[in-house]
């Protein structure tokens, strides 16, 4: 399902960051786990095409999205993935309905407030946010925002769903409920997903395969475990619940 072999050097004024990652799995529910600052979000962005690795390759659902050797680098819009940002990144100038319909039109103008697209209406109903369709993001609660962002990503029928800390912004009670919702939704759609988290509870629930990213030495570094190398962070095979090494 997912094959990652990427290297990326990032230099900012304060620090030098090296991301090195090798991972391969056929599991359809993958959790990328690790402390903040280890490069989890960067990994997700590389899969989505928002960050270009220095070298390596990325294969998602049998599709080669990036391969520095072969000169392949699909643009984000060609990758057809759904991406749930940590703070949901809803467009503040658009209503819930317009947000969900955003990716359905290629035109240079946003869908009109009054426009009704059956696909959007279906997702509004499916996620129980039909009454909020004409509200703006700032009028929504955390859970409603997440449902809107999920609908916006899923309405395009993406090949895979990428989620960046989807529950971090929610309070504990709601977190458990949204976990159930996402779990049920994923099973119903049978859509492959990659979920980034620092919460072990997410691994138990969604980690058919787990990629653990650790911060090594001064420079954070990541390796595929596969049993080799003293600095191996982790990877897990199919069906493995928690990562073996932490």
């Amino acid at each position: 399902m997912l094959e990652l072999d990427i290297r990326k050097s990032l230099r900012t004024r304060e620090r030098h960051f090296e991301l090195e990652l090798q991972f391969s799995t056929s599991a359809r529910r993958i959790v990328v786990f690790g402390p903040s600052g280890a490069g989890k979000s960067l990994t997700l962005q590389a899969i989505a095409g928002l960050l270009r690795p220095d070298r390596g390759h990325i294969v998602l659902c049998e599709r080669r999205l990036f391969d520095s050797g072969a000169g392949i680098d699909a643009s984000p819009r060609e990758r057809e993935v759904g991406y749930l940002f940590q703070d949901y990144a809803l467009f503040p100038h658009l209503t819930v309905r317009q947000n969900i319909g955003f990716g359905l039109t290629r035109s240079l103008l946003n869908p009109r407030r009054s426009r009704r697209d059956p696909r959007v209406e279906r997702w509004l109903a499916a996620l129980g946010i039909a009454e909020l369709a004409d509200n703006y993001p700032w009028q929504l609660s955390g859970g409603q925002r997440q449902r809107t962002a999920l609908a916006r990503a899923l309405v395009r029928e993406p090949r895979a769903l990428l989620l960046d800390e989807p529950f971090a912004a929610l309070d504990p009670m709601l977190r458990e409920r949204m976990r159930d919702e996402l779990d049920a939704l994923q099973r119903r759609l049978d859509i492959p997903m990659v979920l980034v988290t620092h919460d072990p509870a997410d691994i138990e629930r969604f980690g058919d395969a787990t990629l653990e990213i650790t911060v090594r030495q001064s420079a954070p570094r990541v390796h595929h475990a596969g049993g080799t190398g003293s600095h191996a962070a982790i990877a897990a095979g199919e069906g493995a619940g928690l990562a073996e090494q932490r």
Binding site: Q45, P76, E80, A89, F91, P92, H93, G103, R106, L108
Partner: protein
Amino acid sequence: MEPAWVALGLSLKVAGWACLLNLILGVGTGFALARFRFPGRDLLDAMLTLPMVLPPTVLGYYLLVLIGRRGPIGAWLYEHFGIHLVFTLTGAIIAATIVSFPLVFKSARAAFETVEPQLEKAARVLGVSETAVFFRVSLPMAWRGILAGLLLAFARALGEFGATLMVAGSIQGQTQTLSIAVYEAVQAGQDRTANLLVAIVSITCVVVLVTVGRLSPARTAH
């Protein structure tokens, strides 16, 4: 009394054109400088802001050197198209555009810099083109700041005096704008005309400033 209204018409025409040109030039450069990092970016920003701080007479002199009959741009235009810019309304429009450019460009750059990069990324992942990201996310989120800058530029262009006088002169009914007409009226001791002109300019500027003030805090209301 009629010359006053003619002068007002000319001023509105000059300021209107200056705003229209700056809508394209200022928003374009503002976006480019907000989004792209390249060597010399800070220097370019400083150069583009220069018209705001330079004395208008210095600016007028530069313009004369550039677009005058013997200047590099002026000579070329005259040779190929027979266009003459000095002492024309077009010259006045060019002067007003350059003088008010930094107000649009600065506001546009600041407005684009406040747009969350995350939102533009979200739009890209949702499959829309870069052009669509600009028109559907970046521009709608920055337009209040840009509009405020445009209004200030309009007021600035309306009041432009020094550079305009040097480039376009003061030909009544042709290049004599409102602010130049005020000067001429005072010089000629026509107090009634001067009073009327001054009142027109002042009221216009107050209206513009109140509008700008209403545009800015509304951002935080959301």
